[in-house]
Symmetry: C2
Subunit: 429 residues, 2 copies
C-alpha cells in the first residue's frame, strides 16, 4: 500500500456526514479496493457545534471553507456545499489554483460552470469528478464517460428527479391530487419547503445538461434546456394516460442529430412496456441509446445520504487508484459548443388535455384547431362533468412535427371554450 | 494526442468483426474520448480467406495466434477466441509473459483461470480487462469494480443468459412449450445447435463466478456455483407463476454472509413488481445490493456483435486513457478464498410443482411429506387432468430453511403418486 489519499470535506449536511460514516464503516474494504487508505484531514461547515452524529474531533476544522484547499495535508477537496455560485464555486476555483483535485455532488455548479471548472482542472493536471451530481448513487456518469465511450450516443434520457417521481408515483397509485401528495412529500422529507427547484424541473435540467455534455461531447449548456415541471399534471391526466397504456414520468431528454442538440425536461407519457414506466418512488434511472451497444439502462437511488456518499467515495477510490481521464467525456478543448436544436422540428406523438365548458360546439372548435394546424388525432376521450363542473377532453395525436401541436394550442389561446391552461405531454415511443 | 494504442485481435467471428467495424465507424470519436487513436496492428483467426465483411488486408496476419502477443507493434491483445483452455489460455499467458495487456470477452476462461490470469497481469504490470465477459454491452464489471466500490455488497444477482431469457419470455408471452421455443431460438440464431451451455446454466454460472469475485473480493470460484438450467420448466409452471404474480427467470445469484459465499444459477420466480420481471427477450440485467448505495440495476443487450464490441472497445479506451487498477476488484493477493455456504441454511420461499397420478390420496401424501419435513404451505393449487392425462399440483411455501424443502422432495422420491421429476424454483423476495 502506498500513502493514503488525504481529503477535506466542505459541507457537513446529510451527505457530508454520510461520507464520513461510509469512510468509517468500510475503511478497510475501501483501502483494499483503492490500494491505499482514504483519510479525512480537515472539514468545514457553517456551524461547528451542531451534532451530526459523527465524531469530528479527529479532523482539523476550518471556519473558512476556502482554507481547505490551501492545506498542505489535503490532496482532494470534496465539495458538498451546493449552490451554483458563492462559496462552492470559490472553493472549487481555489482548490484547482492550489493544485488540489475536486470531487463534488454539485449539479447546479457543474451545469452552469462545468466548462470553466473542467478547463481549470485540466490546466492544473488534477482530477475533477462528480458521479454524485447525477442520479445520486447510480454510476451513470461513469457509465457514459467510460462504459459507453465507444458509442455515438443518439439519445440520453431518464427519470432524474426523485421528488417528482415520488409525487407522480403516489398520484398514480393512490389516485390523489398533486397538491395533496406534494404536502405529504414535504412532511416526509422527500420534498423541500420551497419545492420549486424540484417540481419545476430545474434540478432535472442541471443533471440533464451534464449528461448531455458527457453523451455528445458538447459543452454543458444548461441555458438551452427547455424546462417544464409537474405542477400542472392532474390526477385525471394520470388516469387517462393509464387507460391508454402509459405512465406519467418527468423525463429529462437530450438528443443529438445533425450537429444540433435538443434538451428538454418535460412530463411525458411512458409506455408501460418501457423500463422507465417501472421506476417508482424516489428512484432515478437513465437510458442511453448507443449506435453499437443499443439501449443501456442504469437505475437506483437518486438521492439520500447513503447513495450520494457511495458515489462520492467511488470517485475518491478512482482517484486513489490513479484513474485519470478528462473530467468530461474528452479534453475540454475538444468539446464542441452546443447548437440548440429547433424543438418544432422534432417529430413525435403528444397527449393534450383541455378543461372545457360543458356546452355545444366545444369539441368542434378543438377539432378544427387541430385540423387547421395539421395535427392528426389518433384518439380522443371526452369525460363528462367532473366534481367541479368542468369537462375534460384528452387527445392523443398521431406522430407529427411538434410545431403543429404548438400551433394548435396557439389557435385555441383565448378561446371561450377552453378553461384554464391546456396540458401538453409528449409521448415516449 | 499521444502515440496510438496498438492492438492485435485474436478471433474474427461475429464479435471480432464487430470490433473492427466499431473501431472503423467511430475512430475519430474514440480518439477524442481516449486521448489517442486505437489502431489494429495484427489479426489472427482460423481461416484467413473467409469473408467477414470487413477489410483485413490493412492488418498483419498471423497464422499462429500466439505470435500476436510477441509482436513489437502490439500493446494490447484482444482475445475473442473463446473456450476456457486451449488457444485462448495459451494466448493470454503468452501475452502477459511478453508484457502485453489483455482484453477478453472470455467468461469461461476467467471463471476457471481468473485468479491465475489476474496474478500474471499484475506481475507483468499490464492491464487485464473483461467488460464484455459479463452481460455483453452492459458496463456491469465497471459498475461493480468502480461504481459500487465504496460498498459492502450483500447480494449480486441477475438475468445473465440472453438465450434462456429469450426462451422463457417466449414461453410466457406465447404460452408455448420449452422444446418448441428452443427450436425456434435455434432457427433464429439465439441458441446454439448444442444449446446445453446456455440452457443448463453453465454460461450464466461463468458470469456469476466473475461477478461474485468482483462484488465480494473473493477468488473466482466457478466450481462452487450450483447449476440448474431451464430444461424442466413447463409452460404450466410459467402459467402458475403468472397466476401468483410472478415471472420465471433464470437467475444467477451470489450472496455473502458470515464470510461464506453462496452462488447459484436457478430458475426463479420473480415478483412482477421487481425490475428483473420486466427484462424480456435476449436482454441481460444485473442487480447489486450495497450497504450504502442500496439497489443498483444495470440492464442492456447481453450478447451480439455490436454490444460485445462496445464493451471490448470501452476497455481499450480505459487502457488508452491510462486507467489502471487491479483486474479484479482489488489486488489478487488481497482476495480471500471463497468458502462455500451451505445452501440448506439459506432461508426463502419456494415454488414446487408435481406431476401426479389422478387417484385418491395423492394430495394427502404430498401434504404429509411437507409437514414431516417442516415445510409450511402458503398456497396449493391442484389443476385437473391435463391433455396427457396427468394432474399438476403447484405449491408455494412459506419462508423457511431450504434444507426442509429438499428433505420434503427426498421423502417423495420413489413415491407411486408422483410421476417424473418434481420442479423446484426459488422465489425472489
Amino acid at each position: 500500500m502506498t500513502e493514503p489519499l488525504r481529503i477535506a470535506l466542505a459541507g457537513l449536511g446529510t451527505v457530508g456526514a454520510g461520507v464520513i460514516r461510509l469512510l468509517d464503516a468500510n475503511a478497510e474494504l475501501i483501502a483494499r479496493r483503492a490500494g491505499r487508505a482514504i483519510v479525512v484531514s480537515a472539514v468545514s461547515a457553517r456551524d461547528r457545534h451542531k451534532d451530526r452524529g459523527v465524531d469530528l474531533a479527529r479532523f482539523a476544522w476550518e471556519d473558512d471553507t476556502r482554507a481547505l484547499g490551501e492545506r498542505g495535508d489535503v490532496d482532494v477537496v470534496v465539495e458538498l456545499i451546493g449552490g451554483s455560485d458563492g462559496p462552492a464555486l470559490a472553493l472549487a476555483r481555489g482548490a484547482f489554483a492550489a493544485g488540489k483535485g475536486l470531487v463534488t455532488a454539485n449539479k447546479a455548479m457543474l451545469a452552469h460552470h462545468g466548462l470553466e471548472l473542467a478547463r481549470a482542472a485540466e490546466a492544473a493536471r488534477v482530477p475533477l469528478r462528480f458521479e454524485a451530481a447525477v442520479a445520486g448513487g447510480v454510476p451513470v456518469v461513469k457509465g457514459l464517460r467510460e462504459g459507453a465511450a465507444a458509442n455515438r450516443i443518439a439519445q440520453v434520457y431518464g427519470v432524474l428527479n426523485g421528488t417528482c417521481n415520488f409525487i407522480l408515483s403516489r398520484m398514480e397509485s393512490e389516485a390523489r391530487d398533486f397538491d395533496e401528495v406534494l404536502a405529504e412529500a414535504q412532511a416526509m422529507g422527500f420534498a423541500e419547503a420551497d419545492p420549486s427547484f424540484d417540481i419545476d424541473g430545474v434540478d432535472a435540467g442541471h443533471k440533464l445538461a451534464i449528461l448531455a455534455s458527457l453523451a455528445f461531447g458538447t459543452e454543458p449548456a444548461f441555458d438551452d434546456v427547455a424546462l417544464e415541471g409537474i405542477r400542472h399534471v392532474l390526477r385525471a391526466d394520470i388516469a387517462e394516460a393509464a387507460a391508454l397504456g402509459y405512465r406519467v414520468r418527468l423525463l429529462g431528454m437530450a438528443e443529438a442529430s445533425s450537429a444540433r442538440l435538443f434538451q428538454r425536461v418535460h412530463p411525458c407519457l411512458v409506455p408501460v412496456s418501457h423500463p422507465l414506466a417501472h421506476v417508482t418512488g424516489a428512484a432515478n434511472a437513465v437510458v442511453a441509446e448507443g449506435d453499437f451497444v443499443g439501449r443501456l439502462l442504469f437505475q437506483g437511488a437518486g438521492a439520500g445520504a447513503g447513495p450520494t456518499a457511495s458515489a462520492v467515495v467511488a470517485d475518491l477510490i478512482d482517484i486513489a487508484r490513479g484513474n485519470v481521464g478528462p473530467p468530461l467525456s474528452m479534453p475540454s478543448d475538444l468539446l464542441t459548443p452546443a447548437v440548440r436544436a429547433e424543438p418544432g422540428d422534432r417529430r413525435g406523438r403528444a397527449y393534450l388535455r383541455f378543461t372545457v365548458a360543458d356546452r355545444v360546439g366545444v369539441l368542434a372548435e378543438i377539432a378544427a384547431a387541430m385540423r387547421d394546424a395539421g395535427v392528426s388525432i389518433e384518439s380522443l376521450i371526452q369525460r363528462g362533468v367532473q366534481a367541479d363542473g368542468s369537462v375534460l377532453v384528452a387527445i392523443v395525436t398521431h406522430e407529427g412535427p411538434e410545431r403543429c401541436v404548438t400551433a394548435a394550442l396557439e389557435r385555441l389561446r383565448g378561446s371561450q371554450s377552453v378553461a384554464g391552461r391546456p396540458m401538453l405531454m409528449h409521448i415516449l415511443d
